[in-house]
Symmetry: C2
Subunit: 319 residues, 2 copies
């Protein structure tokens, strides 16, 4: 791969394609200069190729051929080209060395592989895309590569990632965001309301309900979203916040009680995600005396992409 003046990072998940144009500085570090959006892997109607090049057309028109680095579900069995999952523990070097690359429209295309792990209960877990934030977080401070840390990446699927001595040790997925979407769009719990606003008190009520009960009560507690509305304890709009609290509370509760780590022996939990969601997770963590620190997701992602990019272009095979 020749050195270019620009490079594109594409986070291509199930629901969205997010493209970032980066300028390659003289010292080969990257500076974000523009971004664009398009359809997720599940929603592409034409080919992946057309979707990608339509999305980045303004940049190609202006700067010519640009290498494109893609991560996320685009590298899965339902994506463009499948990359194998890298088993944990794994590092930046492992991930960069297992990228696959091919040529398309004379552009160099690189797909970053996902990561898998096997948990103590014999279950597998997988991620594609979120590993970039973990790698970025590792770059953010040299202290992050020493000792054991827990990273919380809230989103459609929350990922709780245990990092040990600079490597991704293991991780667990909770379908918190997806469950929220399913329940507000398709269940009898709540009447659709596009104008629902966040209500902190209802959110905390929901979180406390799952966190303070002996058992988590998720299965037998979910219906309270509806019954509390029927009995005037929640408005329809408040019910959204209550449900969100109930789900995030359930997610945090499982992390507090996970067999794979002990929060008391880990320093701050690092929360990296979309701002509103990060705040909500932090609220619940703080309410239960768990120390945490929020990181700005776009900054961390760019650091991660920068790290993968530097490693990749330094590989003998990429030259």
């Amino acid at each position: 791969m020749l050195i270019h003046k620009y490079v594109v990072a594409v986070d291509w998940g199930t629901s969205h394609l997010r493209a970032f144009l980066c300028k390659v500085n003289d010292d080969k570090t990257l500076t974000l200069t523009d971004n664009a959006k398009s359809l997720g892997v599940n929603k592409v109607v034409n080919s992946f190729e057309k979707t990608l090049f339509d999305c980045i057309a303004p940049w190609v028109n202006k700067y010519g051929k640009i290498p494109v680095f893609m991560m996320g579900q685009i590298g899965s069995s339902i994506g463009w080209k499948e990359t194998s999952y890298l088993p944990c523990p794994t590092s930046l070097e492992d991930i960069a060395s297992k990228c696959i690359n091919f040529s398309c429209n004379d552009h160099d295309i690189v797909i970053v592989p996902g990561v898998s792990c096997r948990l103590s209960n014999d279950n597998y877990d997988v991620m594609r895309g979120e590993e970039l934030q973990v790698l970025g977080w590792l770059q953010q401070s040299s202290q992050h590569s020493i000792g054991t840390h827990l990273i919380c990446l809230p989103g459609t699927h929350t990922k709780w990632v245990l990092v040990k001595d600079g490597k991704i040790e293991l991780f667990k997925t909770a379908m918190t965001g997806e469950l929220f979407d399913l329940l507000i769009n398709h269940s009898i719990l709540i009447k659709k309301n596009n104008n629902a606003t966040f209500d902190l008190c209802s959110f905390q009520k929901g979180a406390d309900f799952t966190l303070k009960s002996e058992l988590g009560s998720f299965t037998h507690g979910l219906f309270s979203v509806r019954s509390k509305q029927l009995f005037g304890e929640l408005t329809n709009s408040q019910a959204y916040s209550y449900l969100s609290g109930l789900l995030i509370g359930s997610d945090v509760r499982a992390a507090m009680n996970a067999e794979e780590w002990q929060l008391s022996q880990i320093g701050d939990v690092s929360v990296i995600g979309e701002n509103k969601l990060s705040q909500q997770f932090s609220q619940v963590l703080k309410a239960h005396d768990i120390k945490m620190k929020i990181y700005e997701v776009s900054e961390i992602t760019l650091l991660g992409f920068n790290a993968v990019y530097q490693q990749f272009i330094a590989l003998p095979s990429s030259k």
Copy 2:
């Protein structure tokens, strides 16, 4: 209400209308003679009136005016006419006396009210329609009206109903069936497969996963439905059974640990529901040494309707 030769019972829920034509015997007991189906409350496009009378038209044509007793969501805020929930503890006599009745097309229409309760955690719970099975079960044996019993009514929403000395004491709802439908139809867990067949081993694996773990693991365990497929541990068809086991396991686990009752101090759990689902709940209960007995749902429902009917026609106001 004059005495008729026939009477119709309508269980009109969110998704389905199920109508049952019953012959009134000389001793006023009922014998089921025919049944019919139509659209649930949520799916009605014309009026409720037209949907009902289209559905029972063959019976009306043959037998003339027939009283119609309705229960379920048809009596809710999204139904035809709203009936208030009767607070627990409540009995057959209370329920029959709070039926509302009106005339439509010169037919007597009766709507049976739903039931509500307040739980020890201050949550409300509600049911509409399932109370008929509980009343039927109480009729099934005189022993059922003595002491404390637990009834499990699996369905779209599982209801766990505590009966004490012949009254409905309290109950809890779990959205087990609805969650299963949401997850197989709308989530990334599983690819749609209309030909999936039940696999006992995968079902048990799922149930054990939520029942044997310290925490229930629902939130952090659900994603295993997908990861086990990715790693070849489950076929797509087996994943359906695994998910079903996971959800039913989670439901039974919450019942085993409920604050409102202690299974060890209750005799057999009475399971009343559609046959396949009853078998699945029983499987999980048995595997965890919980004694249970399955009752035939249509027989129990008819007993319940019979009981409400007898009470209702004996009321001074209905004559």
